[in-house]
């Protein structure tokens, strides 16, 4: 049988040690009426056949198309060395570093990851990572609820709608009040957010660039919110943080991000990387694993999982979170990516994305009937209004091998004509030109 090393003779010896005749005797505790009603699975297959079968499935997907899809998840180039580094099985066949002396590789990498994301976002503390950017918003909101002992969460409609739905589901039974402040033509409505601040609010949750691509400075809003002792939570794009005003500079208390754009492939939705960082005493409310520096018995520097008094295996039902894993390998992947590109490489990548997005916006608004949703500054993604339903255009262009963007109407009723267009550094000027020509032809 695959991956079972025991010979018939050895199996016999082991059974004999136990005084048993056959393997079935090991399961005599499972009585006859508990036995499976069926176990109708395919027969064992050779490695070659499985590889062929799965390769065939991969070929049923088409990844040769030219895509301008974003929506929080982006097609960036990943240097070969990133993939190489995380392919070392000393990293990927280890588990959570419960024995720190035998896990210094993983632990130092987590410590470095925490340092890197703190420096990128200008925040004080990071944990070892969470599942994804959406659950990170939920965990951040719960940190605020616990630390303020308040029940109201104020959330901008400019937050990725997928994340807002995750927050909705998780808080259903928790007797919290979720108040969504509508966006205005794709802009985060800062005035309306400010008007909604009061002493009952635990958390204010905003995003930049928001789902529509608009960049905002929340410094003023955060300063106002602080007067009510509200926890300011911001969701950012970590790649663009290399050039844009940072979470820390704006005065956020908790900053979260989806880390996918730092060296993780799109992978049909996962695994991704939930970045969560905070300032000050909020670190005591941090969910999940955290690595810290210490000394060994001879005074050498080493790393361990720390401030574990927050965690589920010690606090049981009173823990800050039920999370007992992190996305360690994904965190390692992003750390490799950050260190290979360095501050300069990240900046150049971000600037190319911004430049491509501006070129695309310019080309698209030249087409009669297409205009920008608003005139706010944007990042590497922007929304346009079309004279027709955006799904129609997407349908037409996909037939020609182009995905022009994401129709917003599914998540924002009334915006059926809006299309969200993302540009990464991988899109060339020629491809953007082709997109514009095809859009022109399709209208």
């Amino acid at each position: 049988m695959p991956y079972i090393p025991h010979t018939t003779e050895q199996t016999g010896e082991m059974l004999e040690t136990l005084g048993l005749d056959n393997l079935r005797d090991l399961f005599s505790g499972i009585k006859e009426d508990l036995r499976p009603k069926s176990f109708d699975l395919p027969p064992t297959m050779s490695e070659m056949r499985v590889v062929q079968q799965v390769e065939n499935l991969s070929q049923k997907n088409n990844t040769k198309i030219c895509s301008f899809l974003g929506g929080g998840f982006y097609d960036h180039y990943i240097p070969a060395a990133v993939t190489d580094v995380i392919s070392r099985s000393e990293f990927y066949t280890a588990y959570t570093p419960y024995q720190p002396e035998a896990s210094q590789g993983t632990l130092q990498a987590i410590f470095e990851y925490q340092t890197a994301v703190c420096r990128l976002l200008d925040m004080q503390y990071s944990n070892a990572s969470l599942y994804d950017g959406g659950t990170a918003i939920y965990e951040a909101a719960m940190m605020a609820v616990r630390s303020t002992k308040r029940k109201k969460i104020l959330i901008s409609e400019g937050i990725n709608p997928i994340y807002r739905r995750i927050l909705d589901s998780y808080t259903t039974n928790l007797h919290l009040e979720l108040k969504t402040i509508p966006q205005k033509q794709g802009q985060t409505d800062i005035d309306a957010l400010e008007a909604a601040l009061d002493e009952d609010v635990a958390a204010l949750v905003v995003q930049t660039p928001n789902f529509f691509g608009c960049i905002s400075d929340f410094s003023h809003l955060f300063a106002k919110a602080r007067k009510y002792k509200i926890v300011n939570i911001i969701s950012v794009n970590p790649l663009l943080q290399s050039v844009l005003k940072t979470a820390g500079e704006m005065g956020a208390d908790i900053a979260v991000a989806e880390g996918q754009s730092l060296g993780l492939p799109l992978n049909f939705g996962g695994p991704y990387l939930g970045i969560i960082t905070c300032n000050g005493k909020l670190v005591r409310q941090m969910p999940g694993r955290v690595a810290g520096k210490t000394k060994d018995s001879e005074g050498n520097t080493g790393y361990v999982l720390t401030i574990q008094a927050r965690e589920q295996h010690i606090r049981r039902q009173k823990a800050t979170s039920n999370i007992c894993s992190n996305q360690a390998l994904c965190a390692l992947q992003s750390l490799a990516h950050i260190s290979l590109l360095g501050p300069e490489g990240l900046r150049l990548t971000a600037e190319t994305c911004l430049e491509n997005a501006r070129y695309a916006a310019k080309r698209l608004v030249e087409i009669p009937g297409i205009e920008l949703l608003n005139n706010e500054p944007f990042g590497h993604e922007f929304a346009v209004c079309l004279p027709v339903n955006a799904y129609e255009i997407v349908d037409k262009l996909t037939e020609q091998g182009y995905i022009p963007g994401f129709p917003i109407g599914g998540y924002y009723p009334g915006m059926e004509n809006c299309l969200l267009v993302a540009c990464t550094e991988k899109r060339s000027k020629q491809e953007i030109g082709m997109l514009a020509e095809m859009m022109r032809g399709a209208l």
């Binding site: 049988m1 991956y3 588990y95 049909f268 050498n300 039920n322």
Partner: protein, 479 residues
């Protein structure tokens, strides 16, 4: 070893992308730009590769070491899976594509992987339907608890409590609490759930019991049928924590025996790598009663063989993850299940249980085994006798590192003093198991003659024993 920040040299570059024509300041108002570049490492590509290569050498992993970490199922991770998960036909796929009507055709292969994996897991467990969305085991538990809440809400049941036996998996109480339930703990008797204690805690307010079976002592729950009936008699549900499914594949299906909700850990039972702590994958299966509440989206197969995403489930608990789960992990589990097939999965459980019992038998004269009877895939030993001589479970664990073995899980479950929880898995040879026993016996003999030697272990690891109290006090969490 220096950190990458300490190795950084100002002006050194690694992978340098193409130069854009414009600077950020030409494109975005200055008030929206960061004031100074981030202080990130400036390294060459070789610097980075060498840094990580050296870090990797400071790790134990399944590929290099026996890793009998109880309840974690550290079995061998087949290499062909890594190759399959790296196919660009999967890695380059944008998750929003199937949400565009016209582009769903581009993702048929990936949707088929999801659909087929759900079907296979249904057959393995006897459940009616699965969602692959939960991103880890604990995330699966939370999803399961949310499903339980949705079921009772829909029926108008006012139920507030979830019962968690003291022998259950460690995350259960926190998962139940986070879903909004009060947690009631019940004490086990002779290592398993005591029906009498359960009856005393069971009332109309109980929404569910979360059971790990075999439990964290590695023991099968002998009173299972009685427990199922008791729970269902008050319309409470039975949750199966699948952390230990590697013990029972082909021997029992949790759906057949009356469990209503189950989560699995693909990174344990189905051979996907643990990644140093993640990414995992924690699919949740349900029976007919709970199917309407599963998270959306769900992958549906049409009569013509096409797959699409269906969101039309009005009773669904909604979104619990951004997309369809940790697809890269799911893909490996799918290939693993195909590779092993019916007989391979059954054999895996048989040999996992054989290996655990063999180790138990070989150790029974050397360490206290509080529940020394036929176990399932893992068992718990206790160093209470050694502790009288000053050598604790943690000391034995550290001494094992010097012998080149990863340590078993220590101090869990909480109900056994000075415990070590040992799970060898089916993929370790008899030679490895024998070598582990010999090394452990050697450590125990030394512990008797020279306890200080074991108390000061480890000696050969990249660092000596680390001061965890200092770390918690100083809180140096970054540079």
């Amino acid at each position: 070893m220096k950190t990458m920040f300490q190795k950084s040299k100002k002006g050194r570059t690694g992978v340098i992308p193409e130069e854009p024509e414009k600077k950020a300041a030409d494109m975005v108002p200055e008030s929206l730009l960061r004031s100074a570049p981030a202080a990130l490492p400036e390294l060459s590509e070789l610097d980075v590769v060498r840094h990580f290569t050296r870090l990797s050498r400071k790790n134990f992993g399944v590929d290099g070491n026996f890793y009998p970490l109880g309840s974690c199922t550290m079995k061998y991770n087949p290499k062909f899976n890594e190759k399959l998960a790296a196919l660009p036909g999967f890695t380059d796929l944008h998750p929003l594509e199937p949400q565009l009507r016209g582009a769903g055709q581009f993702t048929q292969g990936a949707l088929e992987v999801i659909y087929s994996t759900e079907q296979l897991l249904c057959e393995i467990t006897g459940m009616e339907a699965f969602t692959l969305q939960p991103l880890a085991g604990a995330h699966g538990e939370l999803t399961g608890a949310m499903l339980i809440a949705a079921y009772h809400n829909k029926k108008g049941n006012k139920k507030t409590k979830i019962i968690v036996p003291d022998s259950a998996h460690g995350t259960n109480p926190a998962s139940a609490a986070i879903a909004g339930f009060d947690v009631v703990s019940i004490e086990s008797k002779d290592g398993i759930i005591d029906p009498k204690a359960l009856r005393e805690s069971l009332d109309e307010d109980v929404a569910a019991l979360m059971m790990t079976c075999p439990n964290t002592l590695g023991l099968f729950e002998d009173h299972l049928p009685e427990i199922v009936d008791m729970l269902h008699s008050v319309d409470a549900l039975l949750y199966y924590d699948g952390a230990n499914l590697n013990a029972i594949m082909g021997q029992m299906r949790v759906g057949d025996v009356g469990f209503d909700v189950v989560h699995l850990n693909l990174h344990k039972t189905f051979g996907t790598p643990h990644g140093g702590g993640g990414p995992g994958s924690g699919p949740v299966g349900v029976n007919k009663k709970l199917e309407p509440f599963l998270p959306v989206s769900r992958v549906v197969r049409l009569e013509d063989g096409q797959y699409f995403l269906d969101y039309d489930y009005p009773d669904s608990i909604g979104f619990i993850a951004p997309f369809y789960g940790n697809f890269g992990v799911i893909l490996k589990a799918y290939a693993y299940i195909l590779r092993l097939g019916r007989d391979g999965l059954s054999r895996a459980s048989e040999y996992a249980v054989l290996a655990a019992n063999y180790l138990r038998k070989r150790l029974e004269n050397h360490l206290h085994i509080p529940y020394n009877r036929t176990c399932m895939h893992e068992f718990v030993v206790s160093a209470v006798n050694q502790a009288q001589n000053g050598v604790k479970a943690v000391d034995i664990a550290k001494a094992l590192l010097d012998k080149g073995h990863h340590a078993p899980t220590v101090y869990f479950p909480l109900i056994v003093k000075e415990c070590l929880m040992i799970e060898p898995t089916e993929t370790e040879s008899k030679e490895t198991l024998d070598g582990f026993v010999d090394d452990l016996i050697d450590i125990l003999e030394t512990a008797e003659k020279d306890p200080e030697k074991i108390q000061n272990a480890p000696y050969t690891t990249p660092v000596r024993r680390l001061d965890e109290v200092r770390a918690a006090k100083k809180m140096e969490l970054r540079e």
